[in-house]
């Protein structure tokens, strides 16, 4: 058998006269391969450090010029070269918040349906369909949002929102102004559709990892399906589900193309969620190639650094929670 291994390694006996030489060669190959894989693993580390270092160097001029006021200023004026990140940060957080507000409950209910209610035959096809939704590139959501979804909202949904809530004192300010179609709400809704499959598929995975004994015991004492889900499955999988939310949130925060199409790219903070706004990623996508002057470019890179920092924290928490779950399970 070891002859076969040697032949496989293309080491012919004629080439190397002694057995020791062959073994030495194999050992060398072994070390080279080990070194290569290790080097590749380090490349992954180098990539992330490279991203961080490159962004910090690129952002340094802007952060040095504006200091802390970069985070608190709303002004974004390429002519006078005064830049502040508050409006994009606000837009990023608000659109992601709207997205999670919708995607979390809907995603949980879909996962509930898939693990507890769905007939076995349909389980796989529906699961695959939801995952396909996750695979559609974000630019497709963008073009669909711009040409189909935004006009629909403008014509039917937004006038309804304005009529219904517009006259209520505090709530009304959320729905002030004309129905543009594009704006913060539209971006949030599209993000919700994009995040939904992530929340669903991770929730489904953790739900189906619940030991059947627990569920059977609950059914045994007479619980209804909903009570089993609410009082047994959800508490048991809490950590994993929250990890899934964070993963979805990470995606919503960093999503670029879909948002860029429908947010309107206005560097201001409006109380109304019908008004156009901007997010960090949309600002970069819209303005980067047209940015003239080092300070303008640097400010956009600083925005990228902030975005990376926020998503890094969110994703790190998500991975930590999901890893804790795997260890426990």
């Amino acid at each position: 058998m070891s002859d076969m291994a040697l032949r496989d390694a293309n080491v012919s006996a004629r080439e190397s006269s002694s057995r020791a030489a062959v073994l030495r060669r194999l050992r060398l190959n072994d070390r080279i391969f080990h070194g290569l894989t290790r080097g590749a693993a380090f490349t992954v580390l180098a990539l992330l450090s490279g991203v961080i270092i490159a962004l910090i160097i690129g952002a340094a001029p802007a952060l040095g010029t504006f200091g802390f006021s970069f985070f608190t200023s709303q002004s974004w004026n390429p002519v006078t070269e005064k830049f502040g990140a508050l409006a994009p940060i606000y837009g990023t957080l608000v659109t992601s918040f709207i997205a999670m507000l919708i995607a979390v409950p809907v995603g949980l209910m879909v996962a509930f349906f898939l693990t507890e209610l769905c007939p076995m035959v349909l389980r796989r096809p529906i699961g695959i369909a939801i995952e396909l939704l996750a695979g559609i590139p974000s630019i497709i959501y963008g073009i669909w949002g711009l040409f189909v979804f935004a006009p629909f909202l403008q014509k039917y949904v937004q006038p309804f929102l304005i009529d219904t809530f517009g006259s209520i004192p505090i709530l009304g300010t959320l729905f002030e102004g004309p129905p543009y179609g594009i704006g913060v709400l539209t971006a949030g809704l599209i993000l919700a559709i994009m995040v939904l499959p992530f929340v669903t598929s991770i929730s489904r995975d953790v739900f189906s990892a619940v030991p059947p004994v627990l569920k059977e015991a609950a059914y045994g004492v007479g619980c209804t399906t909903w009570e089993v889900f609410r009082n047994v499955i959800l508490p048991y999988t809490r950590v994993g589900v929250i990890g899934g939310f964070m993963l979805g949130l990470g995606r919503a925060l960093g999503e670029t193309m879909a948002v860029t199409f429908v947010i309107g790219n206005a560097h201001k903070i409006s109380a109304s969620i019908l008004a156009p706004g901007t997010t960090i990623s949309a600002s970069i996508a819209n303005e980067f190639t047209e940015a003239v002057g080092d300070l303008y470019t640097s400010s956009l890179i600083a925005l990228g650094l902030i975005l990376f920092f926020i998503t890094f924290i969110v994703l790190a928490i998500a991975r930590y929670l999901l890893a804790r779950l795997n260890r426990a399970g």
Partner: protein, 283 residues
């Protein structure tokens, strides 16, 4: 007594029925978007689909044309990205699964890789702009391909590690017992056993990058003409869609829809094919 027990039971059953109804509604709601998006895409995209889409270059405003240069640009950059990213990804995944299953380096790399996997792709674009475009002084197809490669790597690392971990250790032990060196064991035994899974990972990575727009915007930029020069700005399907969809010209918007249909069909076909590769093996 029994009346309150009955009403209590009725209430629980009612709540159960409502929750079940909501779950079904949520599922229909979720799947509805898929149907809606695909439907609209087919409707708008098919009407503009013709042979000239594949044979003519992107037109100037107001004229008819095709997407040939964008399609070719996308294919070239995707292929180059896969050529750069796949070996690094497979080797790193091999380290995680074979050599350093439990060591500190692997724990860190695994964590970092997961972060990279879901990092905003626009940040990757900024990174490549800083390290390639700015020093070179101009946008280029190379920069676009490298940006895409950075997205390929974490996907391949992840699937390679997962698939190698599924290979039973008895196979490795059997290989070691006949005196096979470790590197040969990995290349001849482990890779072969995990083949389908690793290919799935590569296909999923291709699916992922073929729709990526953000990292190309300021690396490869765009180009209205037929260009095979990787050292110059290069057109790509997603960037052309972005530019054309936001334009006021009807012909451009029509081409954007057609391009969107092409990308979606490619991506969905790739991911369905990739899934079918592994699922037949699992069952």
């Amino acid at each position: 007594m029994s009346a309150t027990a009955n009403s209590l039971y009725a209430g629980r059953r009612r709540r159960n029925a409502i929750a079940k109804g909501l779950a079904v509604a949520a599922t229909i709601f979720g799947l509805g978007w898929l149907v809606l998006i695909l439907g609209v895409l087919l409707f708008h995209g098919l009407s503009g689909l013709s042979l000239s889409v594949f044979t003519e270059n992107t037109p100037p405003p107001g004229a008819a044309g095709g997407l040939a240069n964008a399609i070719v640009g996308s294919v070239i950059m995707t292929v180059l990205a896969v050529i750069i990213g796949t070996p690094i990804g497979i080797l790193a995944g091999t380290y995680l699964a074979e050599y350093g299953r439990h060591d500190k380096l692997s724990t860190v790399v695994r964590f970092i890789n997961d972060i990279l996997l879901s990092a905003p792709s626009i940040v990757i674009g900024l990174f490549i702009y800083e390290v390639m475009v700015a020093p070179m002084g101009h946008f280029s197809g190379y920069a676009g391909a490298v940006a895409l490669a950075v997205i390929v790597i974490p996907v391949v690392v992840r699937t390679t590690e997962d698939m190698l971990s599924l290979v039973p250790d008895t196979l490795r032990e059997a290989a070691a017992s006949i005196g096979l060196p470790r590197s040969l064991m990995i290349m001849r035994i482990a890779y072969r056993a995990a083949q389908a899974g690793i290919v799935t990972g590569i296909l999923l990575a291709i699916a992922r990058i073929s729709g990526e727009t953000a990292p190309l915007l300021f690396t490869a930029l765009n180009n209205q003409f037929w260009s095979m020069n990787m050292n110059a700005p290069m057109p790509s399907l997603p960037v052309v869609i972005f530019q054309f969809a936001l334009s006021p010209y009807e012909e451009w918007q029509k081409l954007a829809w057609t391009g969107a249909l092409l990308i979606t069909v490619t991506v969905l076909a790739l991911s369905i094919f990739a899934r079918s590769l592994t699922s037949t093996r699992k069952q």
